[in-house]
């Protein structure tokens, strides 16, 4: 026999719901139909829809609100802002996050980044450089690369308008919602240029965070490299 590709009903339902998310039937922040409605639409029981939504909720793709309904996850809510930022102050203090845009230019994708973004080497990209400041002190030098084709209209003015909240901007302006990220961390020494930007001595150890972010359907959409000063901050990670 060939492979008997068995897939549970609820997985198929989950895939169908994901399809609707990809197609944009319900945008970020919007309510999706109730479990009963979806059950009727797909001709399955409410419990099966529930299990499908359970998984989507576990993956932070969707948010349940008891008594109200189920909503497409967004990076705009206060509670999940900075969802992907793992850098924490060593003394546990709350702190103000500020950012200073350094540049926003069109460029051609170098091969290593192109591979990560699943685009052709040399194709058009938007390259953004910025400085992140915690409580007024420069802490992170960020370089962000976006495929130009999907991110039309991204420019310095708009980034400033969103005060550096890139994921909120992607959602609001382009309807692109980031679902998950992969990060690769190493320790590097600051070279002269970076040292100048972060106002520290050349050779200072920095935490290098390379991140690729994915939208629905595991499509890579953003590459970024953050160089972080970890004198009074650390990267916090929970392993299960």
């Amino acid at each position: 026999m060939g492979s008997p590709i068995f897939q549970p009903l609820y997985q198929q339902i989950k895939a169908l719901i994901t399809q609707s998310l990809i197609s944009g039937e319900w945008g970020p922040g919007a309510a999706i139909p109730s479990e009963m409605e979806l059950a009727a639409r797909f001709g399955v029981s409410q419990g099966t829809v529930r299990k499908a939504i359970d998984e989507l909720a576990a993956e932070n793709i969707v948010v349940r609100r008891q008594g109200k309904g189920t909503y497409v996850a967004t990076h705009s809510e206060e509670t999940v802002k900075l969802r992907f930022l793992r850098l924490v102050a060593a003394d546990g203090s709350k702190e103000l996050l500020d950012n200073k845009l350094l540049s926003c230019e069109r460029a051609k994708a170098p091969s290593n980044i192109a591979r990560m973004l699943d685009i052709k080497t040399g194709s058009a990209v938007i390259e953004i450089k910025r400085l992140l400041l915690f409580s007024g002190k420069p802490q992170i030098l960020d370089r962000i690369v976006l495929p130009a084709a999907a991110f039309k209209g991204v420019n310095a003015e708009r980034i400033e308008a969103f005060n550096g909240s890139m994921y909120r901007m992607y959602e609001t302006l382009l309807g692109i919602h980031m679902v998950r990220s992969e990060e690769r961390l190493t320790a590097v020494a600051a070279d002269a240029e970076i040292a100048a930007a972060l106002n520290l001595k050349s050779g200072t150890p920095l935490l290098s965070i390379e991140r690729v972010s994915f939208t629905y359907g595991d499509k890579p959409m953003e590459w970024r490299l953050g160089l972080c000063l970890t004198d009074d901050h650390y990267y916090l990670n929970h392993l299960e």
Copy 2:
């Protein structure tokens, strides 16, 4: 009114099962009773037990095996060995992991570590130092601190016997299973002593990984600090 501590039935069942794990009724690797048996024992339906076990399985505390039963998770299985090791070769190659024990001594807990382990400053601890080698090259300098009270009998000989698989040793010798860890990462410069141990130049940037591991009931049991060379390796992390 006071707080109306409502707790769903399945959460209570989950807590009861966790209690049995803490008490050691079923050791690491052992099968727990079937869903039907547990349902009968607790006087609830099988579906309710199922939901409790679902959560335990999602937290990697328990492992389901279709057609066989549900088992207490262990660090001894091939599939989950090195579950907490996020360091990956940059070129994606598989590699041999080797380790060289440097020392294993009794000591007194310094205040910062004592706080993390929820024990008194100055109480007895076991301190282990070792070198991890990937494909023969020294890559990580590890310092491990354990509360001596709970880890009686840990010594160099036994560590060697388990070939450096600490978590396997804790389980087998002491019945202590680590459920989750918290890691704090920073970038640091190698001082002279560390540089010598890892055979590199003083000042080289290293990834510092401070880890606290917890057993059932969120009890901290192990502190460790790993200093990692990240020339041809990186720390891989998935964000959702």
